[in-house]
Symmetry: C2
Subunit: 566 residues, 2 copies
């Protein structure tokens, strides 16, 4: 039996920030000095995903140089570092280096490149073909693999075990969606138990554009028990001692690169347990991480948003306050002639409750002026586009005001639309969709309520009152763009709509399948038509946190001109 001291280092890398990422790795080195090996996430030195940055040869060369710089500084603890490696003929590899004692002991090139869902690795990388090898670290033969390598049957991981790996290390940039941790854990456990070898799984944390990386690194022992965990959504250095059963190195096994011998350290070090997150806590954590990282990594500190008195903007304001601090959140009330009194007072109580910065700009003057320019008061109803012109006008005046505040004060604008609205096109382009980041873009309306209730419960458990005033949650949803408007005049109730949307979007069910599973046929036709017809709007909306299996972004790329109505 070998006993290895292993550090799982969850780093929040920034895409393109090679110097910064080197500094992030360096800052962890003090905590890992006594370890046999410190394992960093996939592409830790470049950030992930890089998209077409990979096509810039100088960036890739700089990435290799960053890895070599860190390798040259190295000490007794081996470092496993992800980077982009220039290959021959301009091709690039998604690579991981094993560094020790000032040298690069070896470089592995990811062999399985995912090219589905949110992944485009066949566009950017060449699959690795150099022979696999093992690294003797702390006396044990260690095999190294990258993310997708783990998920493919009869793939690179099987070759490592057959070739004599005693411990498997997998570095990952595995994006979050609801339920993803359980999928990962099942695969990690299945691999550990079927091979009888311990497995260390290290994941990235932090957000990049629409993707959120949730950390949740883990060590499985050969019986499939998870013996160490990293936190979710937070940077961390998790040090643990792993008992690695010895395995004979059969003839014809993979070559072994000697890195470091066994160190006797006495009593085994066991990390503190990490409590699992309940579903709403996990989702809320993802949304806060995504909003914070988009703002901070873009070089901003403050955000503004329109606070309507409704539940969506209430949730986004709360997420932003938790992400950036309430004094960095500027909530703008922009009542129109159709806004109800309770909307204003509800929004004001939220501002007071959370201590965020509030201001009020009634839009009536601009509304009157624009109606006048368009001659709206003189138009027949038919020419007004069924009231749509006037409704969109109000939403767009608010968009203009928020963008003006953004320009004047350097605040990023957060949009407040949810996935149900985005799905059916219940939004105004350049109006409520105008902004830099869409914090709850991938959250259905019913889940918006669940999140608000969960957040209020947390506040109460911490001894305070609800941060989102109850009246906001109690009143029926309304856009308040015409007198006595309510969402359910245009749309089915959200508890009917949302399951249908989820089955069509995430489940990719056909019309016939949706009807067969019990949805009303007319409703299915109407909703499918709305979703398909709103593609043009979604193409012009900002990035937002992806938290489901299929968001409206990298993982759902439909043509805009598209006559298929299957």
């Amino acid at each position: 039996m070998h006993r290895l001291r292993v550090a799982m280092v969850q780093v929040n890398s920034v895409v393109g920030d090679l110097d910064g990422n080197v500094a992030r790795v360096r800052s962890a080195l003090g905590e890992v000095a006594d370890c046999d090996v410190a394992i960093f996430p996939e592409m830790v030195l470049t950030g992930y995903p890089l998209e077409d940055l990979v096509l810039k040869p100088k960036f890739v060369a700089d990435s290799r140089a960053a890895m070599e710089t860190l390798a040259a500084e190295g000490g007794d603890c081996a470092l496993v570092l992800g980077f982009a490696d220039p290959g021959p003929d301009g091709c690039v590899h998604n690579a991981v280096a094993v560094c020790h004692g000032g040298d690069v002991a070896g470089v592995y090139h990811k062999r399985q490149l995912p090219n589905y869902s949110v992944f485009d690795e066949a566009r950017h990388f060449r699959a690795g073909t150099t022979p696999q090898e093992l690294y003797r670290i702390g006396g044990a033969r260690v095999g190294v693999a990258v993310c997708e390598d783990l998920w493919v049957a009869d793939g690179p991981v099987d070759r490592l075990f057959e070739g004599g790996a005693e411990l498997l290390v997998v570095v990952n940039g595995s994006p979050y969606h609801r339920g993803k941790l359980a999928e990962r854990e099942a695969t990690v456990v299945a691999t550990a138990t079927s091979s009888g070898r311990p497995l260390v799984y290290v994941n990235l944390v932090g957000a990049q554009d629409e993707l959120v990386f949730d950390g949740g690194s883990m060590v499985a022992d050969p019986t499939g028990r998870i013996v160490a965990r990293g936190p979710r959504f937070d940077e961390a250095v998790v040090v643990t001692d792993i008992d690695v059963p010895e395995v004979p190195h059969a003839e014809g096994g993979l070559p072994v690169v000697e890195v470091s011998g066994a160190v006797d350290r006495g009593d085994p070090l066991v990390p503190a347990p990490v409590a699992p997150l309940e579903p709403m806590a996990e989702l809320y954590g993802a949304l806060v991480t995504a909003t914070r990282d988009y703002v901070v990594k873009s070089g901003f500190t403050d955000v503004c948003l329109g606070l309507s008195g409704g539940v969506d903007s209430a949730l986004v304001a709360t997420i932003a306050a938790d992400a950036l601090g309430p004094d960095h959140v500027h909530a703008v009330l922009m009542p129109s002639r159709y806004s109800s009194g309770h909307s204003v007072t509800d929004a004001e109580s939220l501002i007071a409750e959370q201590g965020i910065d509030g201001m009020t700009i009634p839009i009536e003057d601009a509304h009157v002026a624009l109606r006048g320019l368009l001659g709206l008061d003189d138009l027949s109803d038919a020419d007004k586009g069924d009231g749509l012109v006037d409704e969109n006008l109000q939403a767009r005046i608010r968009g203009v005001l928020l963008m003006a505040l953004s320009n004047a004060h350097g605040w990023l604008v957060l949009t407040t639309g949810n996935k149900s609205e985005s799905a059916v096109g219940y939004s105004t382009l350049y109006g409520d969709t105008a902004g830099a980041y869409a914090s709850i873009k991938d959250v259905y309306k019913t889940t918006v309520y669940d999140l608000c209730r969960w957040r209020n419960t947390q506040a109460v458990l911490c001894g305070g009152g609800p941060v989102i005033p109850d009246p906001i949650l109690a009143k029926p949803p309304s856009a308040e763009l015409r007198p006595d408007q309510r969402d359910d005049q245009s749309l089915p109730p959200y508890d009917v709509l949302d399951p249908l949307l989820e089955a069509y979007i995430e489940g990719d069910r056909t019309r016939a399948e949706l009807v067969a599973s019990g949805f009303d046929a007319d409703l299915v036709d109407r909703v499918v038509r709305l979703v398909d017809g709103a593609e043009y709007k979604r193409r012009q909306t900002p990035h937002g946190a992806r938290v489901t299996r299929k968001g409206f972004g990298r993982d759902r790329r439909l043509p805009v001109v598209n006559r298929y109505r299957g």
Copy 2:
């Protein structure tokens, strides 16, 4: 020697419109009845590119059924029809069927799947692996390949020639960019001469989202002479007789499917020659095609745009008038307090000259109202964001007005920004970038002038006056968003800027390479910073016609959060 009568059928398919595309194929059948074979473009039955429509199994099944329907109707002329073919395990093939006499004689699956630039075929299709075969049509052994298959050395096309193909047929969905036809022709000629076999190259026409397919189908004889051509950008049935030298079918050659025997028709049929297009005619044709198809395929007839009196909106109005007819173009003059008198009169003369529908909505009232709501008159200069707030306000009021007209009348909004502006972020999000289609999004400012001059010359050659009044071309570019503003106060002159942008964007040169090639180092730093920093704006702008080797769209996918400044 075999003599085959071949029809090249350039079809303007619509993505997702299976019934419509079947009808488009059927409408050509009368003209090809006397031919041995009629060759349609890649994916003619589905439209191209399909993006994630391919991931809908019912769509793919419907596509196969559409092919079988046409095959069952078939007569003596063999049909070569592209479609999406369902494979095992949910995989899909980019396929082409050879149909004859009511049957499907064979189906070929594209073997080389492009996954670079604007192409994502590795995401959507499985590469073909079924054995290649030849089809005896009109007595000759015909090999069939799809687009990328032709471009790969030692690939499927070489296998066809080695296996005994006497004539090569390549079906294509090859998108236009400036200079692309010459690249295609070089490859077609090189393949014909090196193999000593004639080659028929059939390409799609029409636009789909940002891609424009330019037709330009061609036949090369074994000496490399182009003996027949299809028109550019137009649907056409081009019938030609091709002399196919006989080649012995060596043992071990590819299997031959018998389709049809030789027909004796007497004198050879030679199609009328097609004059080559000069560069500006070609580019203008691409822009007109793209704008027309986006509007028409989306189910609209009319467009509106802001006509400023400047050169960009003048060109877009002219393109739209040529694409849709002048009475379907609604030009809106929206002067502000900073608009010059000549801008209004220049715009009015363009409207009069072309007979398009014009209207004027001065924005002053809304400008005053919004300035008042924002307290702009009371703010210190620092809080006004250096005048940016007020400049953007004017652009956004115009965006709001155009969208209101769009909502009221069912007109699509065309945006008028050019590539130089989009590159450096010289635009207002939700202002001048607001709209459904960006007709000149991929055209540099200097080329905007070239196109205007070319279009005026055409008008004069046809006996009229210039359609774009000369003063529009003569005055210095200005956004007219503050007193006496001129573009060259913020940007270098366009004849300096545009070559630098092209070298950085299309050429992907590094900072060091740009300086080494003679650009001023400070200018390079500034422009690279502007281009990199404007990515967030480009992500929210509408589709527009891609006409260069690298547009701001599918072929340049950079992260928004990105700290690399290499």
